[in-house]
């Protein structure tokens, strides 16, 4: 489960910032990125995001993992736009008897989308890299996101880890009894694993509910209490948003 970026949360300026401030600022910047018609602003956000990731000392592997999917999509979009849309020919060549045409206006359009993607992705990545899940949840709940939605998200988050753990546990138990030494038996073992993982998970969800009810669970999970906003953080973020806004209007 190391793909979860939260696992690498370190002590740094952003991780200490109030989650609500981070969420609101990120969402505002995200909206600006998406509504901007040109290239400059998203690109600027992208570069700042990279800078923050660097400051947070995100390990390279996690960083690449996180950006691999968007980068991939960016390249697909660029290719699609370059060759399949637009009117003005940028270049053309023959390829197995087909004339392939690259369009300059298509390319421009592609770059615009690419910047938008990278800008948006990097701002959300910074939020994800710097904020633990339960803080985000507490923040969302403060922002009037329905409480039950927040709660099932927290359950889900917990169960994701549990499923992986239980999967590993069963895998080890099987390996220990020669479960994966022959291919045919291995497939069979894996089948047993999938089935019993499912059943165990259902049982587990039932058992833990019983344990929770025992300890006073009445249908609503207790959440982190929010500390009061700190003036310095709020004013800093207002400043950042204002600067961003000025750049955006240019």
């Amino acid at each position: 489960m190391e793909i979860f970026t939260e696992q690498i949360r370190k002590e740094h300026f952003l991780s200490r910032t109030d989650a609500r401030v981070k969420i609101i600022s990120s969402l505002m910047i995200l909206v600006m990125v998406l509504s901007y018609r040109g290239i400059f602003f998203p690109f600027f956000v992208f570069v700042s995001g990279m800078g923050l990731c660097y400051k947070m000392k995100i390990p390279l592997k996690r960083f690449l993992l996180r950006f691999s999917e968007p980068l991939f999509i960016v390249s697909v979009v660029l290719i699609l736009k370059l060759f399949f849309s637009g009117k003005e020919t940028l270049f053309s060549f023959a390829w197995f008897g087909i004339t392939v045409i690259g369009h300059s206006d298509g390319l421009m359009e592609g770059i615009r989308i690419a910047c938008r993607i990278m800008g948006a992705v990097s701002i959300v990545a910074v939020l994800g890299f710097s904020t633990p899940f339960n803080e985000i949840m507490a923040g969302l709940s403060w922002m009037r996101v329905p409480r039950s939605f927040v709660e099932i998200s927290m359950f889900a988050y917990r169960y994701i880890f549990l499923l992986f753990e239980d999967g590993m546990v069963i895998y080890n138990a099987q390996k220990n009894r020669l479960g994966y030494t022959k291919i045919r038996r291995g497939l069979n073992s894996f089948g047993v694993l999938a089935g019993s993982l499912t059943l165990k998970a259902f049982d587990n969800s039932h058992n833990t509910t019983v344990a929770m009810v025992q300890r006073g669970y009445d249908g609503t999970m207790p959440l982190l209490k929010q500390k009061p906003f700190r003036l310095a953080e709020v004013s800093l973020s207002v400043l950042v948003i204002a600067v961003m806004g000025i750049i955006w209007t240019r």
Binding site: V210, A211, V213, Q214, R215, G216, Y217, D218, P222
Partner: protein, 283 residues
């Protein structure tokens, strides 16, 4: 013995959905502030009995009264504000990601302020010797450590009645001893009523007020440790044994014909008996 009866159980029959007759002809009662043990072999029904008392299993014939009221009629809140159950397997009980969050869950639900919650959590962790583990992920704990956190989770809530399903299984010998002392002091000093299923025969006579022996879903004997731990053969019949000390003195008395006046159950008593004997023959 405090005359107030907190729990009174009388079960004619309880059958699990798969047809297992797990409980029949049970009658027992637990007084206020008592520390009662339930002993029995594997599969004799200890866990089932505790779950029945806790209101988790309802499909039985008979009655279980908590402070005089039928547990089947009580709401979850009414039961669990008084009664806390520690499950036998820690994995059934722990659900939060970290130690602190798990132990704090109960107090948070009770509506305490954050500072009070923290205080209770830290006190409970101290009681089970797990201070300093607050931020450790639950699934990274050792088995005995998990067991301790389970108990801490209940201690932090300060129930009046505790049901404990083998709380000392998997604890190291010192932990076992400390846990039992802690429970005894809860019962003696704070008046907490405790019912505990256990296999630790040797600790029973040191700490428990009274015990019941279960066999195949029925109670076969009940009373103080002295009354119940009688002869080794009676115990082997129900797959238990005497405490080692008692076993030894029993053998010395009956097989080797040393003139012990009684069969002591604990190290302390046995020392006294042996010294007495020694002085007598010496003189």
């Amino acid at each position: 013995m405090d005359p107030v009866i907190r729990l009174s159980v009388s079960i004619d029959l309880f059958t699990y959905p798969d047809g297992t007759r797990a409980m029949s002809d049970i009658g027992l009662s637990v007084h206020n502030g008592e520390f009662v043990g339930i002993l029995g072999s594997n599969g004799s029904g200890k866990t089932t009995l505790l779950r029945l008392m806790d209101g988790l299993l309802k499909d039985f014939s008979g009655s279980i009264l908590l402070d005089g009221r039928d547990v089947r009629r009580l709401s979850a809140r009414e039961i669990y504000s008084k009664v806390g159950l520690v499950f036998q397997s820690p994995d059934d009980q722990l659900f939060a990601p970290t130690v602190f969050e798990d132990v704090a869950f109960g107090p948070l639900n009770m509506g305490f302020q954050e500072s009070e919650v923290r205080e209770r959590v830290f006190a409970a962790l101290r009681d089970v010797d797990m201070k300093g583990y607050e931020n450790k992920a639950i699934h990274n704990l050792s088995y005995g450590q998990k067991k301790r956190i389970c108990i801490a989770g209940l201690l932090a809530m300060g129930h009046e009645i505790l049901l404990l399903d083998e709380p000392t299984a998997g604890l190291d010998p010192m932990g076992e001893y400390r846990m039992m002392s802690l429970l005894t002091s809860l019962s003696k000093d704070k008046g907490v009523t405790i019912v505990m299923a256990t296999h630790s025969v040797d600790l029973v006579p040191l700490f428990l007020d009274r015990l019941y022996i279960l066999s195949k879903g029925s109670i076969v004997r009940g009373g103080t440790p002295e009354e119940v731990f009688n002869t080794p053969d009676d115990m082997t019949q129900v797959k238990l044994r005497l405490p080692h000390i008692a076993e030894m003195i029993y053998r010395l008395k009956h097989d080797d014909h040393l003139p012990f006046s009684k069969v002591p159950l604990t190290v302390g008593e046995a020392r006294r008996e042996i010294i007495n004997l020694f002085n007598r023959t010496d003189a």
